[in-house]
């Protein structure tokens, strides 16, 4: 890939790259969620809080299972073939490093002026 991020050649593998990245993000967040709820459960004593957290914990585990299966089915995740997983890990690291090097936002991103006034305030 070249350094010009507006070059259409660079959009060649973008849909996969985007979807795999977001799926991996969802997977990690669902993991984090389950762990956070479990920790919270060990610290909570009120029965209603515990009931709520418990049902959310089960929901979180189910969600984690769903996203895992989806990623395996789509071949974005290979927990059983580690060499395949290794290739994906290195590829997405390389791709993201390349994005990291791009100058994506060369101009000012401060858009505060768009929000500072109320509509009637001319």
């Amino acid at each position: 890939m070249n350094q010009d991020y507006l070059d259409p050649i660079n959009s060649l593998h973008v849909p996969e790259l985007a979807d795999t990245t977001f799926a991996m993000d969802l997977l990690l967040r669902s993991k984090e969620g389950v762990r956070n709820i479990a920790v919270a459960l060990t610290e909570s004593a009120s029965p209603d809080v515990r009931t709520l957290l418990r049902s959310q914990l089960m929901q979180g585990i189910a969600m984690h299972q769903e996203i895992t299966e989806l990623m395996i089915n789509k071949k974005w995740f290979h927990p059983y073939e580690l060499s395949e997983q290794y290739k994906l890990d290195q590829l997405s690291a390389n791709n993201t490093l390349m994005i990291g090097k791009m100058n994506l936002f060369p101009v000012e991103t401060n858009r505060k002026g768009m929000f500072d006034q109320t509509p009637d305030d001319h």
Binding site: K74, Q90, L91, S92, T96
Partner: protein, 81 residues
């Protein structure tokens, strides 16, 4: 004797850390376009640079995983039919 290879469990931990770092890098990079505050944006840029350095180092160590394999140019299975 191959003393360079990593143990199974540390290789799997590396897999976790690499994917986590990759996501952190992508988020910090892309979120800069949404941020208003200069200092926050500068901090995110600093995080991007540090993450890139960290990711390169992680990648280098990851090559010593027992399940290491030649990395192809592109993903083997495109999702667009």
């Amino acid at each position: 004797m191959d003393i360079q290879k990593l143990a199974d469990h540390e290789s799997l931990d590396l897999h976790e850390v690499i994917n986590f770092k990759t996501l952190c890098l992508a988020k910090s990079k892309l979120m800069q376009g949404l941020v208003f505050d200069h200092e926050l944006r500068a901090l995110m840029q600093k995080d991007v640079e540090q993450s890139m350095q960290a990711l390169r180092e992680l990648q280098a160590i990851y090559q010593r995983a027992p399940f290491e394999a030649p990395v192809p140019q592109n993903r083997p299975t495109p999702i667009i039919n």
